[in-house]
C-alpha cells in the first residue's frame, strides 16, 4: 500500500504546476463565492430546502476536477462545488438548481447538490450516501467493455459515508474488476454532528485501502499543493491500470452541515488546529510566498468571481420556475408508457 501522507511524490506534477495551481485556486474562490451567495439567498428565504457548502473542502474537491480530463467520469457529492466547476460544470448549473430554475439541468425536479450532466460525465447524486460509487464503477466497467482506454472515474464520499454498506460493496467490486476508479474520502471530522470516534474505530480511514487491495493515500486537505499532487498521482495510476485508488483527505468542515446548522458541536480545539486551517487562506499565502500572485491580483480574482456570481444569480432570478401545468409528469422513457399512470 502506498501512503504518501508524509512525503507526497512529484511524479505527476507537470512543469506547469504554477498555472495548474492558480487555475485551481480560482475555482476554489469561485466555489466559495457562489456558496456564500447561495447561503445568503437561503437566509433571505429565497432557496427552498437546504444549502450545503464545501467550505474547507475546496482544495481536495478542486483537485479532482483539475486532475480529471474531459471524457472522464466524475461523481461529486455534497461539498464538491469547486471540483464540479473545475471539471466543467457551468457556474450557473448550481445557481439554477438551488433556485429551482426550469432551465437548470434538473428542471426544478431535483435541487441543490442533486445535479449533474451525465452526457458531460458529471453524475448526479441521489441522497443515499455511498450509492453513487457503484454507479461510477459501473460506468467505468461499461467504458472498458466498449474498449475505451485510459478513462478514469473519480467520486467523493465523506467520513460518515464510509460506514455505509454501499461504500464497501462498491470499493470491493471496483477492486475485483480492477477499475480505474479514484475514491476520495474527505474526512472533515464530522458527519453532520457525529464525530469520527462515533463513526469508525480505525486509526485512519486510509487503513481501509489494504482490505480492498487498493492503493491508498492520505493527504492534507488544507494544502492545495498536496491535494493536487496526491489526487494527481492517484488519477494517473488509475489511468495507467493500477486499479482503484483510495485517497483520504484530512480537513475540517468550516460550516454547519447545512445553512440551518450552527455547528456548535464542533470541538473548538479542532478549529484552531492544523486541520482547521482554511484551505483557501493557506493557498493564498502559498501563492504569495511563491511570488505567483500578489494580494492585489488575488483581490481582482475575487472581485471577478463575485461579478460572475452576481451576474448568474440575477440572470437565474429572472428565469421561469417549472409550471405544473406544463410538466409532463413522466417516469418512463418508453414512449408508449409515457402517459400510462399505472
Amino acid at each position: 500500500m502506498l501512503n504518501t501522507l508524509t512525503e507526497p511524490t512529484r511524479e505527476v506534477m507537470p512543469a506547469g504546476l504554477k498555472d495548474q495551481y492558480i487555475g485551481a485556486f480560482k475555482w476554489m474562490v469561485q466555489a466559495r463565492t457562489v456558496e456564500e451567495k447561495l447561503s445568503s439567498l437561503w437566509r433571505a428565504g429565497k432557496v427552498a430546502g437546504g444549502v450545503y457548502v464545501g467550505k474547507g473542502h475546496e482544495a481536495i474537491s478542486v483537485a479532482m476536477g483539475v486532475m480529471l480530463k474531459p471524457g472522464d467520469v466524475f461523481g461529486p457529492l455534497i461539498r464538491d462545488q469547486a471540483g464540479r466547476m473545475a471539471f466543467g460544470e457551468p457556474l450557473i448549473d448550481g445557481v439554477r438548481t438551488y433556485l429551482g430554475s426550469k432551465l437548470g439541468p434538473m428542471r426544478g425536479r431535483e435541487g441543490n447538490v442533486h445535479r449533474g450532466r451525465i452526457r458531460e460525465g458529471t453524475f448526479p447524486m441521489i441522497s443515499h450516501l455511498g450509492s453513487l460509487i457503484a454507479v461510477v464503477a459501473g460506468a467505468l466497467l461499461a467504458r472498458r467493455m466498449r474498449g475505451e482506454q485510459h478513462v478514469v472515474g473519480a467520486t467523493s464520499i465523506g467520513d460518515g459515508g464510509t460506514s455505509t454498506g454501499a461504500f464497501h460493496e462498491a470499493l470491493n467490486m471496483a477492486a475485483v474488476e480492477r477499475l480505474p476508479l479514484v475514491v476520495v474520502v474527505t474526512n472533515n471530522r464530522y458527519a453532520y454532528s457525529t464525530p469520527n470516534q462515533r463513526q469508525f474505530a480505525c486509526r485512519d480511514l486510509v487503513d481501509r485501502a489494504i482490505g480492498y487491495g487498493m492503493e491508498g493515500y492520505g493527504v492534507d486537505g488544507t494544502d492545495l499543493k498536496e491535494c493536487l499532487e496526491v489526487v494527481g498521482r492517484a488519477v494517473a495510476r488509475a489511468r495507467r491500470g493500477h486499479g482503484p485508488q483510495l485517497v483520504v483527505a484530512s480537513c475540517l468542515r468550516l460550516s454547519g452541515h447545512a445553512e440551518h446548522d450552527d455547528a456548535s458541536y464542533v470541538d473548538p480545539t479542532l478549529s484552531t488546529s492544523h486541520v482547521g486551517r482554511d484551505c483557501i487562506k493557506v493557498a493564498e499565502q502559498y501563492l504569495i510566498d511563491q511570488g505567483w500572485a500578489d494580494r492585489a491580483t488575488i483581490l481582482r480574482w475575487r472581485e471577478h468571481a463575485k461579478g460572475e456570481v452576481e451576474e448568474a444569480v440575477v440572470k437565474v432570478q429572472h428565469e421561469p420556475a417549472p409550471d405544473p401545468a406544463e410538466e409532463e409528469w413522466r417516469s418512463y422513457a418508453t414512449e408508449r408508457f409515457a402517459t400510462v399512470v399505472l
Binding site: 429551482g100 431535483e110 458527519a191 399512470v341
Partner: protein, 321 residues
Amino acid sequence: MSITYLEAIREAQSVALRDDPRVYLYGQDIGPFGGAFKATKDLAALYPGRVLDSPISEDAMVGSAVGAAMEGMRPVVEMQFADFSSVGFNQIVNQAATLYWRTGVPCPITIRLPAGGNPGAGPFHSQMLEGIYSHFPGLIVMTPATVEDAYSMLLEAIALDDPVIYCEHKYLYNRLKADALSTSNLPTGQARVARPGRDVTVVAYSAMVHEALAAAEEMAREGVELEVVDLRAVKPLDFDTVLASVARTGRMICVAESWPWGGTNAEVIARVASEGFTLLDAPPVRINSFDTPIPYHPKLWAAHRPSSKAICVEARKLMEW
C-alpha cells in the same frame, strides 16, 4: 401549555426512557445533537448511555436493534429520513418482521420514519413508505395524524411486542399544535371519525387527514358533508369504522400522499368493494400523489401531492354521480 406534533414525539420517547429501563434510542445524530429534527432534544443528557449516535449504517442499526430486542430490550431506531430506510430494508422486512413467526420470540422494536413531503425536500427526503412496509407480514405500521396520536401511538409502539414502523409526518412537525397530551387514547387497530358527515366518507391518514378536514370545511359551505375517517394505523387496518361510515354515506374518497400503484388506498378500496359490496352508491375514488418521484420545486411539489382542492373536486363529482 401548547405542544407540537414534534414535541409530542420527543415527549413520548422521554416518557418511555423514564418508565422502562429496556428502552434505548439509536440513530444518526440523535445523541448530544438531539437529532436532525430535534426529536430527541436533551434526551442523551437526561438518560446517559441510552440515546446513542449511530454510524451511517441503517442495515446495522436495524439489525442490532433486532438483536437487542431478542435480549429483551425495546430499541427505538430513528431513521434520519424515512427514505433512508431503503438501505435498512432487508433487516426490517426479513429479520425483524419474521422473527416472532420463525422463533416465537417477540421483536419489540420501533422504527421511526420521518416521512412525507415538504416544499423543497425533493425525491429522497419526502417519501411515504407505509404501503411498502404494510405488505410484509409481521410489521405494524402507524401513521399518526394528530399531536395526541403522535404521542400515545409512539408510546404504544414502544410497548407493543411487535416491530412497529412509526411513520411521523415531517409536514406536521411544527405546524400541528395541541393544548395537552392525552394520557388515554384509542389503541392501534381502531380508526377514528375525525369529523362526522352525512354525504361522503373521506378515508385518510397522516398529513392527508388535514387536507380532508380542510376539504370538509369548504364543502360544508356548499352544503355537502364529508365524513373524515382517520385510519391512524394502516396495518392493521380498522375496517369496521370505514365500513360503518360508508354504510352511512354510500360514497367514498380515499386520500393518500403515497404513490398510486397499490398502497393503502388500493387496500381500502379493495376491501370495501369486497366486504361492503352493496354499500357504495357511487364508484370509490382514489386520490394519490402522481406516479413520479416527488419533485423538489415547491410549485411542482404542491401539484404532485393531493390537496384539499382535489378532494373537493372529487366530492362534487361524487355528489352529482
